[in-house]
Each structure stands twice: as C-alpha cells, then as structure tokens.
Symmetry: C2
Subunit: 339 residues, 2 copies
C-alpha cells in the first residue's frame, strides 16, 4: 500500500511512530506493508520516492527543522508546486490528509481531499473541517471515483466511535447518540467536582497541556460542536452549518452549580447530543446510573441509543499523539481488510 502523507505535524509524526513500531506485526499478522511514497508539508518542503521513504530519517529530518535534512538519493523528488501538485503526480493508493483543522474555511484540507479523489486515491483524514462542512459533496465524489474516505481520527482519537456507529452497529437504527467528546472540558468539570473553582481548574488543564492558552474553542463548546457535525454526517448523512447548532459551553458553570448537582446525586458533563433531528452541545446534569456520568478526567465516551440494542457505550482516550496515530492505522487496516 503506497501512501502520500500531507502534513507532518504532531498527528503525522505520531502516525509515523506508530507505523514504525508496528511494521513487523502488520507484515506478519495482517500481510500489510505500507510504504510512505511522498510527504508534503505546509512550509517544510516536499519529498517523493517511488521506492518508499525511510521513516526514521523522515522523523529525524523534521526534528531538525525541515525535509531538506532528508538524505539525497537517486529517484528522490523534492520539487512540487504544492500539496495538490504532489497528490496528482505521485502514484499512490492512499492520501493521508493530516493538516491542521480550519473550521471556517475547511481548507486547504478539502482541496487536498478533492485532488486525492480526482486521482482515484483513497483518503484517510484527521481533519475535522472537510468532514464537518463538506461531507455529502466529498462522499458523493468518492463514491463516483470508487474510493473511500475514512475519518476515525477526527473524533475521540483512536477510540473507534465512527467505526462502531457506522459499521458495527450498521444493522441498527441509531435513534440518538450522546457523547463526551472534549477532554479539556471534562477534565475541568472533574476537577471542579474535586473542589477547584473554574479558574483554578482551567489553569490546571492549561498547565497539563489539555487546554490551550486561548481555551475558548474548548470551553465555549465549539470543538465539541464540530464533532457533533461529524457525527451527524457520519451516522445520519446530515450536513448542517456550525452556527445553526445549539451550543453552550461550560464557562457559565459555577462551583455552586457543581456542588448543588453533587448534593442531588448528579454530575455535570458537557454533553454532545446527535439525533436525526439535529444536534446540540450543552452542560447537563446526569444521574449516577448514566454510563456517561462516570467518564472522568480527559477521557471521552459515546453512548448510542438504537432500536435493537438499547444503549451501547464506548469509553476511551480522546486525544494523544499515538492515540490519534492509531486512529489512522485503524482506518488503514479497515481499507486493507476490504482490499
């Protein structure tokens, strides 16, 4: 399987590290020998080698600053106009679109994915933008081109919520899904329940690297809202604009609210809700017999209500370099199983 990698930030590096670690076992147990035949970065150069690039040297050169540190050899091509030029010209089975998410424009990821589809290459992406904003158009184009688009990494890292809802539960009708899909806010709420006030809990989340310096995308619910759009697309084929969702973050939750809930035997969680009618993100007080009530810290979860199976809940990691790298590997294995 020949792979083009677009974007070599944390996710791309995490994937390469996972791939390196798993190379032997993928070969012996799954008969899968993935080969990175090209890499495109935003500002750190391009590389293409039809014989396959060396993963340790790729990681080493990016650590040194850019791909110019990758050793020269015959057949190595560094000259491409841009990622789209590279996607079109390099012979490969699969494009990994791992550039950073932009929820306003969904670019350049959408154009990368479109170029991959146009040149009959499968796509695996970790980028929320194209799936949240252009699902139907991209899926239709992929269907016409007889290629697949997979996007497990866009929500809950490698915890396989997309494959569970779309594939394992495919024979069920999903009536509703509720998720804890933002680890930062779940960590803050957990720490508030342990006695911290909002500001102190946020500070702690920032110190641990869970929350960014500007935490608004997390605490105001917009990261969770983007994931609601992805779930709506993935499970119901629905595509709606981000600003039409009902979104409330956790900034209005006080220490007293948390205490009051606790006294009543309940617990605040920031819940993403998805149904065929639409979606929302809201802090909700859950009773203790709700499986989502016990999802603590930076853990994520999703609970599906279906016609045949009642409630099915999946709990796991929602972030991390290797966890997200694994999501991409899982999609790769799913493609391989069908090939």
């Amino acid at each position: 399987m020949k792979i083009i990698l677009i974007g070599l930030g944390t996710v791309g590096q995490g994937f390469l590290e996972v791939l390196q670690k798993k190379a032997d076992i993928l070969k012996t147990e799954q008969n899968l020998m993935p080969q990175i035949v090209a890499v495109a970065t935003g500002s750190r150069g391009f590389l293409a080698d039809p014989d396959g690039l060396d993963i340790p040297q790729l990681l080493e050169s990016i650590k040194k600053g850019n791909l110019s540190h990758y050793p020269q050899k015959d057949g190595l091509d560094r000259n491409f106009a841009d990622a789209i030029d590279l996607i079109r010209r390099v012979d490969a089975d699969l494009v990994l679109e791992l550039t950073p998410t932009n929820l306003q424009t969904a670019e350049p990821a959408t154009s990368h994915i479109q170029a991959a589809i146009d040149s009959k290459k499968h796509v695996i992406t970790a980028n929320k933008g194209p799936i949240a904003k252009h699902y139907q158009k991209l899926m239709q184009a992929a269907k016409n081109a007889k290629v697949e688009i997979r996007f497990e990494a866009t929500v809950m890292a490698g915890t396989p919520c997309i494959a569970l809802g779309r594939e394992l539960l495919a024979g069920c009708e999903i009536k509703e899904a509720r998720g804890i899909v933002n680890g930062t806010t779940n960590y803050i709420l957990s720490q508030m329940e342990n006695g911290l006030d909002y500001a102190a809990a946020l500070k702690q989340a920032q110190d641990l690297g869970y929350a960014e310096t500007d935490p608004s995308a997390d605490v105001e619910g917009w990261d969770a809202a983007a994931k609601v759009l992805i779930f709506l697309a993935a499970f119901f084929g629905k595509e709606i604009p981000l600003d039409s969702l009902d979104v409330t973050g956790i900034t209005g939750i006080s220490a007293e609210d948390i205490h009051e809930a606790k006294t009543a035997g309940e617990r605040y969680k920031l819940i993403a809700t998805i149904s065929p009618k639409g979606g929302s993100v809201k802090p909700m007080r859950l009773p203790m017999d709700d499986p989502l009530a016990h999802v603590g810290g930076a853990t994520n979860a999703i609970s599906f209500k279906t016609d045949l199976m009642g409630e099915t809940t999946l709990i796991g990691k929602g972030a991390g370099k290797h966890e997200t790298g694994f999501a991409i590997l899982a999609d790769l294995l799913a493609l391989h199983r069908k090939a």
Copy 2:
C-alpha cells in the same frame, strides 16, 4: 446472499424477526438481500427452497409446532437425512449455526460447521461450544477453504465485543481484557448491593427469567468461563481446556462482603480476565473509578488494555432475543462489506 439456517429456537427466531424488520433498509442502504434457502431443526423438520423461504410463514409454522405446517409448493424439499446432509446438498453462501450450546461435546455444532466449511460456505454461529473448544482447527479449515467463521453472538449478544477486539483494535496489542460477561450474576450482585441477600436476589433473577431453575452454570462462573475461552481464542488465538481455567462464582459472596466493600467505596463484580498468559473468572472488588464498577443490572461490558490506546471500554446488552438476532445480522453485514 443465500442462507442456510441450522436451529430455529429463540436465537433463530430472533434473527428471522430482525431480518424481517430490516429487509427494506438492508436492501436500500446496504444493497443486501439475504434469502433463507433452507432450515434444519433438531426435531421439527427440514425445509429447502432454492427460491427462498417465506419468513413470516416460517415463524408461523414453528409457532404451530413444527415445519410440517409450512405450506407445500413446487420445488420445496423436506427430505434430508440430517442437518449435515442438508448443509452439503443445498446451494448457499452461508450457514448460520444456531443450535443450543453443549460445552462438553461442542456437538452437533462442530460437525455442522465442519460440513459448512467442507462445502465452501461461510459460517456465522451463536454457539459457544465450537469456538471455545475447537477454534484453531476450525479457523485453519476455514482459511484453507477460503471461507470465514464469525461468532459475535457467542458473547455479549449484539454488543460488538468480538469485532471491537479483533477488528477495530487490530492495530493495537491487547495486553489484557476484563469483562462482565454474565448478566445473571451481575444482576444478583447489583440487587445484593441494594440490600437483598443472595437467596432473595437469586429468586428475583429467576422470577425475571435471567436465571434458570438450576442456576449453577451462571452463579458458579461456568458460563463466564466459556466466554473467557472464546475471548482467548478470538484475541490471542489461544485454545485451552475449560477445566484448566481458574474459575470462582458468586455463591460464596455474602451480604456482609457486599456491605464491607461498599463501606470501603468499592463494589463486587464477577470479572472475567483474559491475557496472553491465560484467563480467570473471579468476584473482584473494584474501586469506583473503574469503568466496570458502574455496569449495573443485567448489562455486560468489556474493557481492553492495549499498548496504544490505554483502556477502551464497551458497555451494552448481553442477552435478549433481538439483541442476539442483531449479533448475527452484524456478522452478516461484515461478510457483505468484504464481499
């Protein structure tokens, strides 16, 4: 997809009811049109029709007592020596082995599956015996014959624990899995925590139909142990005899034990543990931050510890006519996706 159904008890009827309910959506959304071309029962007769049997009439005739009530028509064949004869002679893509489990002999299910493999038919089974006892032999035979054996229904009904561990987490190394895989004992322990003593909780489980009149297979841990063997086979390719497992049931757990655990902020659960080294079934006191501690009543769960994803937990229904019927449908859809 032409299907032979072996066994038309609760599981077989549940599957047919699910299939009937889902026929339209399977056709439009999955392009799957399953056709039941033959049915074999232990003592209620045989039916084969290359044009496909009518599901409502099948269900109706079995409700009346046996398949002789199925209306006669041209091309309908009722004359077979036994299920193996039927499996060999009827043209089909897939055999559903849905006869009752016998953990001592694993028969007649193992012979049925072997006959299906010999005649190049895929197999989906809900029968624990063949998977717990003859996994390696059957999988090797299936591989040689280029057919698949799937068995989601053998553990946790349609909650897709087998597919999660074998397929969605395939790129991870499973270090250990812990499960609550027997709903009856979990219900009894939950009710004991609510204040009932063991005898009263067991009586309630029997009244609700969770526990059988002779509850020993459940309460002594043997049902869970059979599932441990299936997990060992499915996740590690390991095959060991049932009596070499370390198995303790819940009959030794007293109201005082439960109370003592509760006072310490813990909770008793009957935990099935599986690792590359082997498996066990034991009542264990879990701290409240263990995701399995909150799996109450007749619900089932499994928690995987893996190298890349830390802990991934799946919680859902572990029994039920339509829940088990769905497990078979899920396997059928998985075969269809690969076809």
